[in-house]
């Protein structure tokens, strides 16, 4: 097997839940990611769901997902000894990732100028709700606030009613993926001139970037997209109730194929009128169009409907609950899940694994998420060469 993409890349990960996915992705690609946690652990360890509903910092499934493949070191960065140790770690690191409030790192004595001085090749990536500059840089935000200010939430839900909260911390996720992109860009730049850079990522900006139509519609057409219920804004797709659930209609495939199919069921005769042949007419008269199609599918079976559509090359889909992913045959066939052993629990768990299959470079889970401070001695003692007695003193003083 070839070596991983980031084999040999040493990363210090200071992030909480806002930024943890960034280090997880790098760790999956082979980087040595050391989670530097405050004594007591990363705040994400207190976020559920918990294994068997038993809250405990080493049983947070939330923490598990975002910290797979990392090592953990506890270090009190509010103490001078903690800073001294961090400095030593930073001298041999390639990358520091952090998600603290803008200015906080500098207060601790670990600002960009300092890090750049002690290790000119070091890359610092700051993942902050609004970035490091600007009038709102100190605004307080969680993912739901960022999804709102990032334009994502306004276009989820039904017209005139309470917007629907996006599922799954997508503001943080967008931020973290873009942070990885910024980090690799900085690695390329370092390859040119040897110098590390400071990557200043705004989660709000990453969130707006991931709302496909907002800027283009606003700047191009002076249009403010609204909420359209379970219909795509361009009207090409809408959810319909069927006998045993829901299917998603699509008028974005071949129109004649769809029409023939519906008519072969003795339905949708009205759509045979010539004006419906025109795509513009169909989109303009979407309410009538979908009403006719809804009537056609209301007694159909969800999966039969979706399967038949695919044999006709029409992009219909079953509208499934999240639960069906756990037994999804496509994911299983592609080896998507990773079986990760947790020896201290005597159990093995199925993790969401590789979203990308690389021909030459593996993306494979191999190390369960760390227990709090699990690798403190390994990293400070064996790798940094600190004496056992010094570690004992630091432990007594609550630094580690």
């Amino acid at each position: 097997m070839e070596q991983s993409v980031f084999a040999g890349l040493r990363v210090l990960d200071l992030t909480d839940q806002k930024g943890s996915l960034c280090g997880r992705i790098l760790a999956d690609m082979g980087a040595d990611v050391i989670k530097v946690e405050p004594p007591g652990g990363d705040s994400a360890r207190r976020i559920g769901p918990f294994l068997d509903d038993a809250p405990h910092p080493d049983r947070s499934l939330f923490f598990w997902f975002y910290n797979l493949n990392k090592r953990s070191l506890t270090l009190d960065l509010t103490s001078s000894k903690g800073i001294e140790v961090f400095d030593r770690l930073a001298r041999s690191a390639d990358l520091v990732i952090e998600s603290s409030a803008p200015g906080r790192l500098r207060e601790l004595g670990l600002g960009w100028d300092h890090l750049h001085e002690i290790n000119p090749a070091l890359i610092l990536c700051s993942i902050a709700p609004f970035g490091q500059t600007g009038p709102r840089r100190n605004y307080q935000a969680d993912d739901s606030v960022l999804a709102a200010l990032g334009g994502m939430t306004y276009v989820c839900g039904y017209p005139g009613e309470t917007p629907v909260r996006p599922l799954g911390l997508q503001a943080y996720h967008s931020g973290c993926y873009y942070a990885v992109i910024g980090i690799v860009a900085a690695l390329f730049a370092r390859d040119h001139d040897g110098a590390g850079q400071w990557v200043d990522l705004s989660i709000q900006e990453a969130t707006v970037s991931a709302v496909e139509h907002l800027p283009g519609r606003y700047f191009g057409e002076n249009d403010i997209p609204r909420r359209y219920g379970a219909m795509h804004w361009f009207r090409g797709f809408r959810v319909a109730k069927c006998r045993d659930g829901y299917v998603m209609h699509s008028i974005s495939g071949d129109w004649n194929t769809l029409l023939e199919w519906a008519r072969s069921d003795g339905q949708a005769e009205e759509l045979a009128q010539p004006q419906w042949n025109e795509d513009g007419y169909r989109r303009a008269n979407w309410e009538r169009l979908y009403a006719i199609l809804d009537e056609w599918v209301k007694d159909k079976n969800r999966d039969e409907m979706a399967t038949r559509a695919q044999t006709l090359r029409l992009p219909y889909a079953a509208v499934r609950p999240l639960d069906e992913l756990a037994t999804d045959e496509q994911l299983a066939a592609r080896g998507y899940f990773a079986e990760v052993e947790h020896p201290e629990l005597g159990r093995t768990f199925r993790y969401p694994g590789a979203p990308i299959l690389f021909g030459a470079t593996p993306w494979r889970a191999y190390r369960r998420p760390p227990l709090i401070g699990e690798h403190t001695v390994e990293i400070l003692g064996r790798e940094l060469g600190m004496e056992a007695e010094e570690l004992a003193v630091m432990s007594a003083e609550g630094v580690i």
């Binding site: 068997d52 309470t162 990557v199 991931a210 219920g229 804004w233 690389f358």
Partner: protein, 398 residues
């Protein structure tokens, strides 16, 4: 000026619709030369709007892949490229002999990134899909139900944007690997799997706890919080679709919130004394908060709460984001591009800054075929006569 990170990298871009173009627009912002392969039709896509925003910074060649001889021409472009990207379903590139197995023979270190809906293997490899259908199939549409239990989900293709940044990231990984090893590779990225990876904690709750997943509504997804919700605000002009998100977790945030609301009597009632009690009585709590926001402009309420240190944000629409947000404006997130036809258009920036390298948007999008002379003439060295011959053979559009 510092060299851009991907200076010298050339991308041959077969992508269409959204996910692929998002990926290549990111690579272009980092300095790659992106050559978009397009068909030419009577319709000329504008340099403004969604299409212009998606394709800024890219070159365009009008190459008719179904004309006899076109594949040989495409192969010549591959020989001077580093990365070939598509987001077709798995079989299309194979039919054109533009798949990795074909291309690696003519360019041994080529990287091919395929961003298909379901990947190149497995029982659904050949399914046709779009962002909305992938979201529905994954579970976003049902599990993002509204208060009445109706399926809603995203009214747009979040899937495409997410697949776009995941695809760009995958391309960067492979380029970095090639820089270190000299080797190219094939990347099989299934957009479906990209989406599934965005609900990780829910997946573990299913596989480890065997718990069925229900729509969570406005309940906090990152630890207990109350209040935590979307509250309707006073209309702005005739726009009554104004909302504020408030999220209070800690005791400090709650006391700051109460103070910011003017310490109303209801807030000192015992049913709101602890976070647990506030969560138990969230309906009543939300009603109180909602009565306050109903008399407030969303912006003003946000400002009041943020000044007090309470996490709050207005539910921004396109105008709020693109024209009124002082933070995005101050950070230059909506750069203006001047257009060759005159005037300018604003587009979406790149959500990070590098301290030493000016990555980001540089120029407007290209009209289909606009870069034919540059690519086939300057880069491939075909004479005017040879290019006319390709036009004659309907391989290139004039």
């Amino acid at each position: 000026m510092a060299q851009l990170p991907l200076a010298g990298i050339r991308v041959l871009d077969f992508t269409w619709v959204l996910a692929g173009p998002v990926a290549t627009r990111i690579l272009a912002a980092l300095g790659a030369e992106v050559i978009k392969v397009e068909r030419k039709s009577g319709y000329i896509a504008p340099r403004t709007g969604v299409h212009g925003d998606l394709n800024r910074d890219k070159l365009s060649i009008a190459l008719n892949m179904s004309a006899p001889g076109a594949i040989e021409v495409a192969h010549r472009v591959v020989k001077i490229s580093d990365l070939v990207i598509d987001n077709f379903s798995a079989r299309v590139m194979r039919q054109w002999r533009m798949d990795y197995e074909s291309l690696v023979k003519i360019k041994p270190d080529i990287i091919c990134l395929s961003m298909s809906g379901f990947g190149h293997t497995g029982p659904r490899a050949d399914y046709v899909s779009f962002g909305p259908t992938l979201q529905a199939f994954t579970g976003f549409t049902l599990n993002m139900a509204d208060e009445k239990g109706r399926p809603a989900g995203f009214s747009y293709s979040y899937s495409d944007s997410a697949a776009g940044y995941t695809g760009a990231m995958a391309a960067l990984f492979a380029l970095w690997h090639r820089r270190r090893t000299g080797r190219g590779q094939f990347i099989d990225f299934a957009q479906f799997e990209g989406l599934v990876s965005l609900v990780g904690p829910s997946m573990l709750d299913m596989t480890a706890n065997a718990r069925p997943q229900r729509p969570q509504g406005w309940r906090s997804q990152e630890g207990p919080a109350a209040p935590h919700g979307a509250y309707r605000c006073r209309p702005r002009g005739d726009d009554d679709d104004r909302w504020l998100v408030i999220a209070a977790r800690t005791h400090e945030e709650w006391t700051r919130l109460v103070r910011a609301l003017g310490s109303p009597a209801w807030a000192s009632q015992p049913q709101f004394a602890t976070l647990y009690m506030r969560m138990r009585n969230r309906g009543e709590l939300d009603a109180h908060i909602g009565r306050w926001t109903a008399g407030q402009q969303a912006e003003a309420a946000m400002s009041t709460l943020q000044s007090a240190g309470v996490p709050a944000g207005l539910i921004a629409n396109a105008q709020d984001c693109c024209a009124l947000d002082p933070q995005l404006a101050e950070r230059g997130f909506w750069p203006a591009l001047s257009l060759p036809e005159g005037g300018e258009t604003k587009v979406c920036g790149i959500p990070f800054k590098l301290s030493g390298t000016p990555v980001g948007v540089r120029r407007h999008s290209s009209i289909a075929g606009e870069s034919n002379d540059y690519v086939f003439g300057d880069l491939l060295g075909l004479s005017r006569g040879e290019r006319d011959d390709l036009i004659e053979k309907k391989i290139l559009w004039p």
